[in-house]
Symmetry: C2
Subunit: 349 residues, 2 copies
């Protein structure tokens, strides 16, 4: 009889944050690929692009002119998915037609005036400035009476629907707590109520003991491939101490966060020696004015590339209808990321 080996045999793993299972098929890692490949753009960008609507001094689509900023610059998204206006609403929802207006604010954060940079190529001090602004924005937006959740994220790369290479992220702040955050909160809360402890603090402890999926660690943060990761090189940055949100971080902790973001994204760029695409974002306490002792700050990185710069993982058919599926195991991915150089490939020669 063959004994189960997670490196060889198809299996399912449980994601305790989302309370759902995923499918892992390690035996399938080397199937041939004949499908669509992605165009990888590897051009050197200029520090200033007169066509870029995010560069300092340029005119945006709505006619406004960007100031001549240095460092971080924040403005309201000209084509936001949310609007802050209050509308009158009488709720006629039924079992099948439940609808309700949603208020919110969408902002764009330029990480730097320099069009050609990305987080891994920015100085640690400059990334720390971005984190300062995330903290201010979370505070400012979260303090508004009609804002109960502040989603901070970055889409990087054309393959992630990002239309402009100028280094920038977004904030979508809104009245409701969004679906995936509600799910995560439910899991964190039920663990906290059961044990009096933070799910992620206990999880991190076990990951440090096992040491199979840790990529980077500094005084305040750990970067790892979660046991239940679905994207080939998915990672998570978790704060070592249970901070409910970015508001709780000291200056020293913000420097540590900047450092681990820089080092993780350098490894990402080094993986295929390209500017590595991903969507990343922070999960933290809602700003609904309630007490949330269950929350524990963490940042997700969801990168789509699978085998090389051209072949991505498609989350399609089976994944859309049934459940998320991966081939390479989280342990293999962690091993690869861990062993990559911490010097950016562009600076190596």
């Amino acid at each position: 009889n063959v004994v189960f080996d997670s490196k060889k045999h198809p299996h399912r793993r449980y994601n305790p944050l989302l309370d759902e299972w995923i499918l892992v098929s390690p035996q399938r890692s080397n199937r041939p690929w004949q499908g669509q490949t992605e165009k990888t753009i590897q051009e050197e960008l200029p520090a200033y692009d007169s066509e870029c609507y995010l560069c300092p001094g340029n005119i945006r689509a709505n006619g406004e002119k960007n100031p001549d900023y240095q460092g971080v610059y924040v403005f309201d998204n000209d084509f936001g998915a949310l609007l802050s206006d209050k509308v009158e609403f009488s709720d006629n929802s039924t079992d099948f037609f439940s609808i309700k207006p949603e208020r919110g604010i969408n902002r764009v954060i330029c990480f730097s005036e320099n069009h050609s940079l990305t987080l891994p190529e920015m100085e640690k001090d400059a990334i720390k400035e971005v984190i300062d602004v995330w903290q201010q924005q979370y505070d400012e937006l979260g303090s508004k009476e009609f804002i109960n959740h502040v989603q901070i994220f970055e889409n990087k790369g054309q393959i992630m629907g990002c239309s402009n290479p100028h280094p920038h992220g977004q904030i979508w702040a809104q009245s409701s707590i969004p679906t995936a955050v509600v799910k995560t909160q439910k899991s964190l809360k039920s663990y906290f109520e059961r044990t009096g402890r933070s799910l992620l603090e206990d999880y991190l402890q076990k990951e440090i003991e096992t040491d199979e999926r840790i990529i980077l660690e500094n005084k305040s943060f750990v970067a790892l491939v979660p046991f239940w990761a679905v994207w080939p090189y998915e990672t998570m940055i978790i704060s070592k101490r249970k901070a409910g949100s970015i508001l709780e971080f000291s200056d020293a902790e913000k420097y540590d966060l900047a450092g681990i973001i820089k080092n993780l994204t350098i490894k990402y760029d080094n993986l295929f020696e390209i500017s590595f695409p991903y969507s990343a974002g922070i999960h933290q306490s809602p700003t609904d004015g309630l007490s949330h002792p269950e929350w524990h700050f963490h940042m997700h990185f969801f990168p789509p590339l699978l085998r090389n710069a051209e072949v991505k993982k498609f989350m399609v058919g089976y994944e859309m209808l049934a459940e998320a599926q991966r081939d390479i195991t989280p342990e293999q991915s962690a091993e690869i990321l861990k062993n990559l150089s911490s010097i950016h490939y562009k600076n190596r020669h």
Copy 2:
């Protein structure tokens, strides 16, 4: 004071099948797009391609030779995500490291010997043959002791990770009931226990009364844009009577299913006058040997294109971290699809 209008104002809608909310931003439909565009391949394909591993008589990657088939042809996937072997397993799962082996069978279904066809271009009789095989496969696989769920689906188009244009679908049959099916079942079951009726039967009734999102209807089936659709042109085919699975369908019903699939996919092709990409699949009763009076056969279509053949909807950053988001409303999409010709654009001139 402005009164809420679902055609103009950002809002959330509730999906009673998955028990989750989605975000709709109708005011954002006409934001300019400067991002990645998709290459659309519009070449005429030959009826037989000597390089295609699905064409009759050709050799597959594992050295096997396809028979000289006519019509539908089924075989075990040479690079399946699941394996049928039993492995020995002692469960050492903990709170954070839950893992279990998964057994299953992956099959490929060629819809036709003709390399150049797709479902909308096939004869209704030929589609009916595909449905006969889906029925047989659900029966055969579902009867196996270790198979508790049979997922039938199709990935169509390079943009959906489909590596071969030869008309084909897949079946992933497995021991566990996958994540999205468990969620759906939970909703169907709780509705059934509460009311003694089928959630989808009652929903369909309301959709027919409202008549805002119906695209097609025949004696046995309705095709509509669900009230809570997330993809720009997402649709669902629902059986009018509560059939738990494809096994219950008579010959006449299978002809009706063939007819509505043909007509829906013709409309899809006519939308941008291209072979329209999508992932589609059937949700129906698990084959776990338990009684499932809550289940009601339906088929989902998840197409990624948004504005034209080149611009797709990216489900990235906010969507991955927070919740699904759409711009064009389900009612607008339904109106557009409904008004499209039912004659395939290639046959029009």
